[in-house]
Amino acid sequence: MSNLSANFVPQRVEASVIIDRDKCIGCNICVQVCPMGILTLDQDGKAYMQYDECWYCTPCQTDCPVDAVTVNIPYLVR
């Protein structure tokens, strides 16, 4: 694939896991408990959904100590 001008076409994806950045304290618990391992902390220490592989199972929301996480159903499933 090395001689192609562009390997990938960027795609817009809506994140199903939404973090309230004002509330997030960067404790990392949501990142730890997510079964699919799709959350991570950004350079400001706030959690965000890095990979579009959500099972909308909700431990991230339930285990968040400051209610900063909301899990929405991914677009295709809604």
Binding site: P35, E53, C54, V71, P74, V77
Partner: protein
């Protein structure tokens, strides 16, 4: 690739329900031994019941049901292909597990006298014990693992077993956060890596809206196969009745005791037994093909208090996002029926019968290797079976580990696995895992879905061989997380191939829709009341053969005549036979 190594007495692969219980009980049996749990996620929320479960489907509570009754029920439900001793052992020992969970703080439904409440969903016996507030079940189990001083390594995905001849001596894994190769040397290994839940495509089109937790992608089946263990029942697929587009179960088990039921489009009750089996799915499939479709979960006739109680269970437990799914579509149980459908195809012993062959001691055909839960063939074992056989596997693995010394792993096995992983990790401009996964799951859905035919399954095998040669070589990953997902695609391909081969080998139909084989449409007990085994031979070939069932310890009851219902009372679940 950096390498990290561990040495332990007992290694548990997968810290879900069975794995956490195995770890707890291995340590309880031999506190002086080291017990290490590897999990590709985090044991607090990993496995099939990340957000707990609303009930135990097969609790044999003294005074309410007997192990004999349960064993005969499962013998009939799985069309005779069971190790009755294993099923009987689960039924006999599960009550002590219920009591233990109760003492650990799991909340069970009890009557005014403090006795466990049980309901009927199976054809005959009452085994459904609600635990309406058990969304924290995994947190409780994980805490117990820590209390017992087991070592836990999260975010390491085991990818291959290490063997010496026919003995398990450890495992190789991959850290999906750091990208390190992980080598574990162990005296005994317990495999509790869950179902193969990402086989068929989902109706929604979203790859991860599977019935099973999508982390349960078949590594357990693939690893056991590559280690030379016998697998069985792979032709007995799992397909479950779920809410249409949402991966939550159809929930007749929860709604039934409140008066909810399965209905047709007119809201009329569809009668029969809601117990999940290939027979139920066959009945649903026939109805769908006659145009008597869709079916619905009907609750709208219930009063608000009952519906609120049902919502309190369904929207806080197991699949809590169900509330926003319904809200997003503008549906309310008070006014609307919930459309039902089939789940995608998978392999899972919890609801069906596919898995590594184990006996009543959770021993596999490989020395020092034990298996439990959704990847070990104890049919229809559900959550309580995973806990009970997790205990048996952990206890026996600890005894075994106590009796042997460490065996050095074979450097050739480590190097071969390192090469497999490095090929993906070094291919950052390769085709993304989502697309490669979509394509193999498309093959599974289009060619392996029942009704099975020789033509379709031989085409599947041809396409899978091509897929290995072409698509898996294109598969790439940009970081350790993606390498993990890509390795899962390898497991899906392995499982797909075994599904086709095992299905072609069993030349009859059995288990309702799960092995509905049009070239051999009849059940043939004379020739096929036995196991089909798949195993990788020492030379690397896939061997298939039959194996006689262990002798029954209880005489099966004669099957009722077709169309004749088992006795049912008005408050209980009824079946989907028309």
């Amino acid at each position: 690739m950096e390498t990290r190594t561990y040495t332990t007495d007992v290694l548990i692969i997968g810290g879900g329900t069975a794995g956490t219980m195995a770890a707890i009980k291995a340590k309880a049996a031999h506190p002086e031994l080291e017990v290490l749990v590897l999990d590709k996620a985090d044991i607090r929320r990993s496995g099939a019941i990340s957000m707990g479960m609303d009930g135990l489907n097969n609790a044999v509570i003294p005074g309410k049901a007997t192990p004999e009754e349960y064993t005969l029920e499962i013998t009939a439900s799985n069309d005779g292909i069971v190790d009755q001793l294993a099923v009987f052992r689960q039924a006999s020992e599960c009550y002590s597990i219920v009591q233990e969970l109760d003492s650990w703080g799991v909340d069970f439904e009890k009557d005014v006298n403090g006795n466990y409440e049980v309901y009927r969903v199976h054809r005959k016996g009452r085994y459904v014990l609600p635990m309406p507030k058990a969304s924290d079940l995994k947190l409780i189990l994980a805490k117990k693992v820590k209390q017992m001083r087991c070592k836990v390594v999260n975010r390491v995905m085991a990818t291959r077993l290490l063997t010496k001849g026919n003995q398990a001596v450890g495992a190789i894994g991959y850290d999906v956060r750091t990208g390190e190769l992980v080598i574990v040397q162990a005296k005994a290994v317990v495999m509790t890596a869950g179902a193969a839940g990402r086989m068929g495509l989902t109706d929604s089109g979203y790859l991860y809206s599977t019935y099973e937790n999508p982390t349960n992608s078949g590594e357990g089946f693939a690893m056991a196969y590559h280690a030379g263990a016998e697998l069985t029942g792979i032709e007995c697929y799992q397909i479950n009745p779920t809410m249409k587009d949402y991966n939550g179960p159809a929930c007749a088990y929860v709604a039934g005791p409140f008066g909810g039921y399965t209905a047709n489009a007119k809201g009329e009750r569809v009668t029969g037994c809601d117990y999940w089996s290939g027979e139920l799915i066959m009945n649903m499939w026939k109805m769908a093909n006659k145009g008597e479709w869709p079916l619905f979960l009907k609750l709208s006739h219930l009063d608000d208090a009952a519906i609120s109680q049902i919502e309190a269970i369904l929207h806080n437990n197991e699949r809590p996002s169900r509330d926003r799914f319904h809200a997003g579509r503008g549906k309310d149980y008070r006014t609307d029926m919930v459309e039902l459908h089939f789940s995608e195809l998978g392999l899972c012993s919890g609801h069906s019968a596919s898995g590594v062959l184990v006996n009543h001691e959770a021993e596999t055909s490989v020395k020092g290797l034990y298996a439990a839960g959704d990847m070990a063939c104890v049919p229809h074992q559900y959550l309580l079976g995973a806990l009970t056989f997790g205990k048996i596997a952990g206890t026996n693995a600890a005894h075994f580990a106590d009796s042997v010394t460490h065996i050095e792993p074979d450097p050739g096995q480590i190097e071969a696995e390192k090469q497999r992983i490095a090929r993906i990790a070094g291919h950052s401009d390769g085709v993304p895992h989502q697309q490669v996964e979509y394509k193999i799951r498309r093959i599974v859905t289009q060619y392996l879905m029942p009704p099975k035919t020789i033509v379709k399954m031989e085409m599947a095998l041809e396409k899978i061989a091509h897929f290995r040669k072409v698509d898996l070589q294109l598969l790439g990953a940009r970081d350790p997380h993606e390498v993990g997902r890509a390795l899962e695609v390898h497991s899906i391909v392995d499982c797909a191939e075994l599904m086709a081969k095992a299905s072609l080998f069993r030349k009859e139909s059995r288990w309702g829709f799960y092995h509905y084989f049009l070239d051999y449409p009849e059940r043939d007990d004379e020739n096929w009341l036995k196991r089909v085994i798949v195993r990788k031979s020492a030379s690397g070939d896939c061997e298939l053969y039959t194996k006689e069932l262990p002798p029954y310890i209880l005489k099966p009851e004669p099957e009722p005549e077709a169309g004749v219902e088992a006795e049912a009372d008005s408050t209980d679940q009824q079946a989907l036979t028309h």
